[in-house]
């Protein structure tokens, strides 16, 4: 678009573009900052979107860009697909969608580096920095791409959520990563052999698969968060290839933010990142302790009985988990809560940091069902309140309320912060069966004297409760 500008402007155009990039960066930083608080988050996202628009528009004035057919075509096609996906997706499928978008972002960065290499007729015109950046960009971008799609497959059930692994896989993965870095070094030293590039691309794609396959389905949120960080770093690397400040700054911003977020999630699960990536935790523990001892007794409740209990309570806390998300029961939960509130019962929601299918997912689902966010209490806020709570409804959650996390130092979840539901006067567990949770261990809460089980599908059970409440 620079062709339309008079010569005098062209002289300072490159500097002007850099300054506008700085403005775009400002919008990104301000946007992420505003995303930190529920009241301003929507504005923050819009700020970031404006920053992106500014960055794209000003780039079109770059004097290197002389042809626009492919640009217009690409933006129209990509924009329509993005629009469609964003409008159609169910809120419960949000983790899958984030994984897909993330994969596309990584792939795009790898393609930018590869395209820049292929576009240039003389490969020797790249300096060492350029070649190393191309190599790293392809490496990180490609593994983000395949890794994200494996994560997508695990989240959507196309691929078994179990940890698929064999002894030595971790060693092979680490070896392959080191080998790839070595190859990138050699590629920078001697870029004339085209096979080398293909080998780097191929191994990178494979590493994405083999490093995510051994990680269990419940750890996918951490994986996606980490891959999100990688996609940022890949974009920054593409920025080094093109010596573009906007790419470097924004990519680094996302890369760092993603790492922090990953760390927060690991802490919530009381696991180190190394343990998530190399632990294959779900595979080893599965089955152990699954058989409950015969002498444990379980108290069962019915919809009618439960309706009376909650209707005459003064304070009810709802603890939703993965099972509620899977059953898509968020709307019916809200209906039950509304009925209780109209009777003067105080209703709050206690949300464990890793409840749902990705961190914060439960909050989104309940927001979709019109539950105001100030009723959604974080673990630290709700834990002191259980002592004064009459009934806790635990819907589709298991490990996050398992007292063994506090009492059994040998157990796999020992030390994980949990919701202290056992301090409440009564707990009700909505569950299909007495089966174990992801950690593969029995939950003593089910057999506690204060606890009652309400067996069945979360959604159907809540519907029954909702109807029974009309009769009370």
């Amino acid at each position: 678009m620079s062709a339309f500008l008079p010569e005098t402007i062209l002289n300072w155009l490159p500097d002007a573009i850099q300054l506008v990039y700085l403005v775009a960066t400002g919008f990104f930083i301000r946007g992420v900052k505003l995303l930190n608080s529920p009241g301003t988050a929507r504005k923050g996202n819009q700020f970031a979107a404006i920053g992106m628009m500014i960055g794209v528009i000003v780039t079109l004035f770059d004097q290197k860009i002389v042809e626009f057919e492919l640009i217009v075509g690409g933006i129209v096609i990509g924009g329509l697909i993005g629009l469609l996906l964003a409008k159609k997706v169910q809120m419960t499928a949000m983790p899958e969608l984030v994984a897909v978008f993330n994969g596309f972002g990584g792939a795009a960065s790898a393609l930018v580096a590869w395209g820049e290499l292929a576009r240039n007729p003389d490969i020797l015109s790249f300096d060492t920095t350029g070649l190393v950046s191309i190599g790293l960009s392809v490496f990180i971008g490609a593994l983000t791409f395949t890794g994200s799609f494996i994560a997508f497959g695990k989240l959507s059930g196309f691929i078994s959520g179990n940890a698929i692994t064999f002894p030595g896989l971790n060693v092979i993965n680490i070896g392959a990563m080191i080998a790839t870095l070595g190859l990138i070094g050699y590629f920078a030293y001697d870029p004339t052999n085209p096979t080398l590039f293909w080998v780097i691309l191929g191994i990178s794609l494979l590493i994405g698969v083999t490093s995510v396959i051994p990680i269990g389905g419940a750890d996918m949120p951490v994986v996606i968060s980490l891959l999100n960080s990688y996609s940022g770093i890949a974009a920054a690397m593409a920025g080094f290839v093109l010596q573009n400040n906007l790419l470097i700054v924004s990519g680094a911003l996302v890369g760092a933010a993603g790492l922090i977020l990953t760390n927060i999630m690991c802490k919530a699960m009381n696991r180190s990142l190394v343990n998530v990536i190399f632990g294959s935790f779900g595979a080893a523990a599965g089955g152990a302790g699954a058989s409950g001892d015969g002498d444990k007794t379980v108290r069962e409740t019915s919809a009618e009985d439960l309706a009376i209990q909650v209707a005459y309570a003064s304070k009810v806390v709802i603890v939703p988990g993965y099972g509620l998300a899977v059953a898509q029961a968020q709307h019916i939960v809200k209906e039950v809560a509304t009925k209780l509130e109209s009777r003067g019962v105080q209703v709050k929601y206690g949300i464990h940091p890793v409840a749902g299918r990705m961190p914060g997912h439960m909050n989104v689902l309940l927001a979709e069902a019109d539950v105001p966010y100030d009723l959604l209490k974080d673990m630290d806020e709700i834990n002191p309140e259980f002592a004064t709570t009459d009934v806790v409804l635990i819907i589709g959650a298991n490990d996050v309320v398992n007292p063994l996390a506090k009492t059994d130092p040998t157990g796999p979840i020992y030390g994980m912060p949990i919701l202290n539901v056992d301090e409440a006067k009564r707990t009700i567990v909505f569950k299909r069966s007495l089966s174990v949770g992801y950690a593969g261990i029995d939950n003593p809460l089910f057999y506690a004297e204060k606890n009652q089980m309400f067996f069945g599908d979360a959604k159907k059970s809540l519907q029954a409760l909702n109807e029974a409440l009309n009769e009370v």
Binding site: M52, V66, G79, A86, N244, I264
Partner: protein, 97 residues
């Protein structure tokens, strides 16, 4: 145009520090929208894709750039829109009729 590598690394490091600082205190409620919003920002690679697809050179490189534009645009448009859709639903109690 020769740019000093040290300067680029400097910028990269500073931006990373800002990223660390910005996220440190985010409430769990916003983890999902934050992740999807940050994910949309990583679609910034679209700027690189525009340069590759629009510059002169070997047609293969330009078509690769074209593919990059499509994928990056899906990431950007879809990411920002779906984040907006999520955040639109976050309401305080007073906001209810």
């Amino acid at each position: 145009m020769e740019v000093d590598l040290t300067l680029l690394l400097f910028i990269f490091a500073l931006a990373s520090f800002i990223g660390f600082e910005l996220i440190a205190k985010v409430p769990p409620t916003l983890h999902t929208p934050l992740m999807s919003g940050a994910n949309a920002i990583s679609g910034i690679t679209i700027v690189g894709a525009l340069i590759v697809a629009g510059s002169l050179g070997n047609p293969l490189g330009k078509w690769i750039g074209f593919a990059a534009i499509i994928l990056a645009t899906i990431n950007v448009v879809g990411g920002f829109m779906v984040t907006d859709r999520m955040l639109e639903m976050f309401k305080k109690k007073e906001d209810e009729k």
